[in-house]
């Protein structure tokens, strides 16, 4: 292999994702071309118009139709992609389940933004977290580079024959999507070699081998068995995601795991966090370490399938874990990531304390001071005898 490209570009997160799409050059892209769509498909539409890609670009009348159209194209045998955000994601809702249950390897960029109401266009994770049980694989990126890297890896994961599930990859709205950051790209040829050609399973557009996609399962059918098959594919996806990441690491020099630990080996207190806030948290960990506090961090990358055993192992020596959720699960014990981490650690002996923090809803800023406050709660809990209340703690909430 010739030397790795080290030229660093300054791009928005959306430009990073659109460049990955250009290099993937899927057969079909279907998208709703107005807000709450993102700049990703706007940029892609320009690439189509400029003849930089060969994709069939289908503009539709809603995000519901966008997902319907990519499902049709994928069932027909095409490599398909789309992108969405916020309310658009919510409108796709029922089709998300259709895409995953038909086992169609669609790749979707999702720019994480809040759901109404009150009407809000800013970053939080409510949209994709609400889709966590839709049967899609979910990869969360931290920055511009990961918006690009995850998008390319998503193709290989989705299309792997042991998996064949749709993959959505996320990055933070505005903080990443609209702000400029560094990106190092692979060459077009490297991306094409990495993803390889697409082979559909049972495509509709094969007149020599007619099939029926999406049939009624009968009044006493096999729905249950198909759902178990979906979940087994999710289980198998854990290894595939890591294998694809390892291969991508060799190619790019950028290595990814199912999650990313930071200064965790001897940590007594640790925060688990998603998305761009991981950068802020790393800064705070370094500051606390300089003061002698044994603080550590995990950045969550893969949320579905959730690598619970790996978390149980990685956090087994930690006394108190704080989980930072940028979405809430109203009426539950805490946010979505908190619930997963707490469940994952239940069988650990000794069982660490796991405390829920909610932050950043509707784009509320999160400052290093807020993360320090969270670590202070963990530090206090680690010193106290007995267990600390697991009521929600809010970071940078205006309170009376």
């Amino acid at each position: 292999m010739s030397g790795q490209n080290t030229e660093t570009l300054a791009v928005t997160g959306n430009e990073a994702a659109a460049e990955a799409m250009r290099q993937i050059d899927p057969d079909v892209v279907c998208a709703y071309p107005i807000t709450p769509q993102t700049e990703v498909v706007q940029l892609y539409a320009q690439m189509v118009a400029d003849g930089k890609v060969s994709s069939e670009f289908v503009t539709v009348e809603s995000e519901h139709s966008a997902m319907s159209a990519v499902i049709g194209a994928a069932a027909g045998g095409a490599r398909t992609m789309t992108a969405t955000s916020s309310q658009g994601f919510a409108l796709m809702w029922e089709l998300l389940f259709v895409a995953s249950s038909y086992r169609l390897p669609i790749v979707m960029t999702t720019v994480n933004r809040a759901l109404s109401g009150p009407i809000n266009i800013h970053c939080d994770h409510s949209d994709s977290m609400g889709g966590r049980d839709s049967g899609w694989i979910q990869l969360y990126g931290e920055n511009h580079q990961q918006a690009y890297d995850n998008c390319i890896q998503a193709v290989r994961i989705a299309e792997h024959l042991e998996v064949r599930l749709p993959v959505m990859h996320m990055y933070d709205g505005y903080v990443i999507s609209g702000a400029i950051g560094p990106l190092v790209m692979l060459s077009d040829d490297q991306v094409q070699d990495f993803i390889g050609p697409f082979t559909a399973v049972n495509p509709l557009l094969d007149p020599k081998r007619p099939v029926t996609v999406g049939p009624f399962d009968g009044l006493h059918g096999w729905y249950f068995e198909h759902k178990v098959a979906q979940n087994r594919a999710m289980d198998r996806a854990l290894k595939v995601i890591q294998d694809v990441a390892d291969e991508y690491g060799e190619l790019s020099g950028r290595h990814y795991g199912l999650f990313e630990p930071y200064r965790l080996d001897d940590a007594e207190i640790a925060i688990v966090v998603v998305g761009s806030t991981a950068g802020t948290t790393r800064l705070v960990v370094d500051k606390l370490r300089a003061k002698g506090v044994k603080a550590g961090m995990i950045r969550m990358r893969v949320f579905r399938p959730f690598p619970h055993a790996a978390y149980a192992s990685a956090l087994e020596h930690v006394k108190v874990v704080g989980v930072l959720d940028r979405a809430d699960s109203f009426g539950a014990q805490g946010g979505p990531l908190f619930l997963e981490i707490r469940a994952a650690l239940y069988d650990n002996d000794p069982r660490p304390q796991v405390l829920p923090f909610i932050y950043g809803l509707g784009g509320r800023d999160i400052f290093p001071d807020n993360i320090e406050q969270a670590f202070a709660v963990l530090e206090k809990a680690a010193q106290e005898k007995g267990r600390t209340s697991t009521g929600r703690r809010y970071l940078n909430l205006r309170e009376d």
Binding site: Y102, R103, K208, A229
Partner: protein
């Protein structure tokens, strides 16, 4: 590859299949199998043919959505009751009024 035959996908013991034996995404990988779905049980009305009125125009045969009109010697000779849903399209379309819909007598 030629068109798959029904016999290429043997589902006779599908009630015993676990999750791994089913087709990915519940796709049916062969064509021409709708006759295996018996829709006769949907019927509340039943078509009755008067053979002496039938002119052999075959409109009933072409209109029937379930291909349930049995033709013999160029005329409507009977109904495939395993698939006839009793929709009444044949009776409606018959120019000779040779088909009438009667209430289904269920046992």
């Amino acid at each position: 590859m030629s068109a798959a035959k029904k016999s290429d996908w043997d589902v006779s013991d599908i009630d015993t299949w676990g999750p791994e034996r089913h087709q990915l995404g519940a796709t049916i990988p062969v064509a021409g199998n709708s006759e295996e779905v018996e829709t006769g049980g949907w019927r509340s009305q039943v078509p009755v043919i008067s053979p002496e009125k039938c002119t052999g125009c075959l409109l009933c045969y072409f209109y029937c959505p379930d291909a349930s009109i049995i033709i013999e010697d160029g005329k409507a000779a009977g109904i495939d009751f395993e698939h006839c849903k009793g929709c009444g399209i044949c009776a409606r379309e018959c120019p000779a009024k040779a088909i009438a819909m009667k209430a289904e007598e269920k046992e």
